[in-house]
Amino acid sequence: MTVLALEDVTVGYDTPVLRGIDLAVEEGEIVGVVGKNGVGKTTLLKTAMGLLEPTEGTVTYDGRDVTDDPPDVRAREGIGYIPQGRDIFPGLTVEQNLQMGEHVGGDSDVTRYEEVYDLFPVLEERADQDGGTLSGGQQQMLAIGRALVGDPDLLLLDEPSEGVQPSIVDRISEDIRAINDELRTTVLFVEQNLGVIRTMADRCYAIDRGEIADELTGPELTDEDAIAQYLAV
């Protein structure tokens, strides 16, 4: 079943950044999006979340047209969003940050504190500490945990490796795979780190010059050059 689909989407700010985007994510998949800096990856995820409105085309979630739904409605319907640069709430405690994720997937009353604390024990240890005092890697874990707590069906993940130590980067990619395996959460992520793309993605779209230039699957994903051509500046 298709969880998320963008059909012929054109979106941008004053001028379009992305044009005629067609993309689909099937239930249980981990799909990557690669592309150079400034090509419109964040723009794409924000459009999926409802933070940006496309000027043309439709966004479908769970088979329903959600193009006109605001982000808070989409969140409550089960889309968990992890913004680029993490954007945790620095002045709320770790625990309060996690609580803010409870509205995600609001209709199911399930919360996933146990699973989140199992994945990231450091969050339990530092539950009473302000989010702003965590290290970059810990903030990334908090942002992921916060999006997971409400038990989303789809996770939108914007450059999880950015500004995180290499040793933690590997861990986080494995964690996302585990989340996908154990909680059956579908994942759409954006990334420029080759290693992360190879560990995580089942399939991968490449964006170039505002359009989807390629779709990489199976063996192409292990071919460094195939991906690298869309990352080179």
Binding site: L51, D72, R76, L92, Q99, Q129
Partner: protein, 337 residues
């Protein structure tokens, strides 16, 4: 000790310390010179009650409500009319005053501040939004609410004339000082405590603070941020109305009665900075005595001037207000330990 625990310990230790210090000086003051103590505490409470609604709306929405004084006027008039004309017992009439003002605030938020109503109409007639929300637009929000304050003052004058009949002051007096004013000191403390609990200890408070810190992310996590702003504005307005209700027995009921509150509230918010409870209570403790002393010695006008002067000094020497100073002191102490 972890940072988080340190922070909490800091808040508990110094917060409790401050409360104990205030209570102790009150006790000593009452023994030494009860009348002066009552006068100063009342002045502090006046600043706190005048400012709290304005501080919430400013701190959370980045909107300066220059009609704040007229919201207080509305609360005072609604209380007085429901007591005198409607025959309600005073506490109930005060509840009516607060509620009417909260609902009025809700309407103002929908029609002016958020632009929801005009934009709803705009989209259905000319196919686009008519106004941008006033959130975090200080100057624009001041212009819009200043207009509203003029309309409200003139409206009150046209509907009710130059004054309306007043409620008598309840209770007797102690040491030559009216008990009702002493009771207001307790009410002010209670209001601050309630506001503190609401914004720091409840889920609603967490949502509000998340919205303040990062609106887009809060929205992406399922928070209806529009509703957060709407409710916040209604709470701030309701508190302004409650202030009007509390002071209704003490003031002559004229359409301009809000002015004195606006000046004190505005100065208190400037001096207090972004933190609603810490800022409002500390600037109350600072400005209350200044106001009381100057008004006692040289009359009310001098008190007002002294307050504005204090605000100018604060703006010059304490950017970020008292809140900023408290944060810096806290960081210093934490680094030291």
């Amino acid at each position: 000790m972890s940072n988080g625990l340190k922070q909490q310990a800091f808040q508990v230790r110094y917060g409790l310390g401050a409360v104990v210090a205030v209570v102790a000086s009150l006790a000593v003051g009452v023994l030494v010179d009860p009348n002066l103590t009552f006068r100063v505490s009342y002045a502090v409470s006046f600043v706190v009650l005048a400012a709290v609604g304005l501080a919430i709306i400013f701190g959370i929405m980045g909107v300066i409500n220059l009609a704040h004084g007229e919201f207080i006027l509305l609360g005072a008039y609604a209380t007085t009319l429901s007591a005198v004309k409607g025959g309600l017992p005073l506490p109930l009439a005060m509840g009516v005053g607060a509620l009417v003002t909260a609902l009025f605030g809700l309407t103002v938020e929908r029609v002016v501040i958020s632009g929801f109503v005009p934009n709803w109409i705009g989209r259905r007639t000319v196919g686009r939004d008519l106004i941008t929300p006033f959130y975090d637009r200080l100057a624009d929000s001041m212009v819009a609410t200043f207009g509203l304050s003029l309309i409200m003052t003139q409206g009150a004058r046209i509907v009710f004339g130059n004054s309306i009949e007043q409620i008598g002051v309840p209770f007797g007096s102690t040491a030559g000082y009216p008990d009702y004013r002493i009771a207001l000191v307790g009410v002010a403390a209670g209001v601050l405590a309630l506001v503190y609990v609401l914004f720091t200890q409840t889920t609603f408070g967490t949502r509000v603070r998340a919205t303040m810190q990062d609106e887009e992310t809060a929205k992406a996590l399922g928070v209806d941020t529009e509703r957060v702003y709407m409710v916040t504005f209604a709470i701030g307005s309701g508190l302004a109305g409650f202030t009007g209700a509390l002071f209704a027995p003490l003031l002559s009921m004229q359409p301009t009665l809000g002015d004195q509150f606006l000046v004190e509230a505005f100065v208190a918010v400037v001096v207090g900075g972004a933190s609603v409870v810490v800022g409002t209570s500390l600037s109350g403790l600072l400005l209350g005595p200044v106001d009381a002393l100057f008004s006692d010695q040289f009359g009310e006008f001098a008190g007002r001037i002294a307050l504005l002067f204090a605000a100018m000094l604060a703006l010059r020497f304490l950017p970020g207000g008292i809140t900023g100073v408290v944060d810096r002191v806290r960081d210093r102490i934490e680094e030291g330990s």
